[in-house]
Symmetry: C2
Subunit: 204 residues, 2 copies
Amino acid sequence: MTESLVVHVVDDEASVRDSLRWLLESVGLRVCTHADGEAFLAEYRPQTCGCVLLDIRMPGLSGIEVLERMAQDGRRVPVIVFTGHADVPLAVRAMRLGAFDFIEKPYSDSLLLERVQRALSMRRETRDREVALEETRRAYERLSARERQVLAGVLQGRPNKLIADDLSLSIKTIEVHRANLMQKMGAHSLADLIRRVVQAGIEP
Amino acid sequence: MTESLVVHVVDDEASVRDSLRWLLESVGLRVCTHADGEAFLAEYRPQTCGCVLLDIRMPGLSGIEVLERMAQDGRRVPVIVFTGHADVPLAVRAMRLGAFDFIEKPYSDSLLLERVQRALSMRRETRDREVALEETRRAYERLSARERQVLAGVLQGRPNKLIADDLSLSIKTIEVHRANLMQKMGAHSLADLIRRVVQAGIEP
DNA sequence: GGCGGACTAGGGGATACCCTGAATCGTTTC
DNA sequence: GAAACGATTCAGGGTATCCCCTAGTCCGCC
């Protein structure tokens, strides 16, 4: 299942986009180009697969600003920053914003390809885990308000009786909500449920 | 409880160590100096508090190698790398190894102090959480072999009856081990136990 | 009017939890 | 050597809790 690994190229110069596209496609990679930061962010989703080649010097949003925006909603795509006007503070800033790598122009084709392959293989490694986390978050979104209230109680380790008291419901009703939310969350046991929720970072 | 925040200075030149000590102590910080990477790693523990100022160019272990060693057993101390022979690839390498910051010599005193304060405040923010995780790990270390086997079954969501079958023991025995390990782990409920274990990264 | 989802609830069997009691075994301590 | 301690094993009995099946109401939608 490595089909959907796309290299997203973000650069304002068409010549750079074209040469990168040619280079990457020459080794069989799928490429998607974006002329500026806004255009890329408009298409970007946290669950986007593949990796990103991001220029720093661009009109409009700079690459640093793009990194900041991506960091806000939990980036999972590795981003390789490349720029012709590199210095140490800039590289440090990009890396602190979670960039996967930082390449100075001019770069050799082989170096860039190697870094791209490294980013893609990291992405592949972490992909399954993140897909599972996304599924958990989506499942949580599908819970009803009552089910989330019950889940909150369950996560606090409260027995059904106390959850029932909190919500002024009968124990039997809590049991049903509990069974339903287990079903919806795809959990096979209480341990499974809590592990999924904790790992997905859900804290109601 | 900010008493034990120490700035660890690792540099082979005594003059640098002395001037950094003077600078840091002049603003009331506690300082501990180390003449090389080996000496520092010998004293370093993952739960060490404070932050580290690490030179790259040193005889013996380089700063990069020190970072690699620290990364192996889960560094939690923020490390500020500083070097007089900086270039972008070196900075990127250090940051990829999890350095908190990267400063070029010569640096201004105020810049260095600001970065140190930033590292210390990050350390303070994450400290309580990590202390709790450490306690969980230590508690797990104190479990007996049988208790860990039972815990493994509990984490898989298996009911006591099945755990008993797996280990060819009676349900009553499983109940005892389970109660004992809950006690030892300081867990107030099954949900609490699982959250602690998952967050501490324990996967038997 | 029917259909599905959310919410509510009871009965009964299985399971977990707590208390008391007890035996064996190995290590440490006095 | 005796005593103390912790780990491990098992049992009975009672209470609390959980889980599955069944079943009713309400509401929005086709």
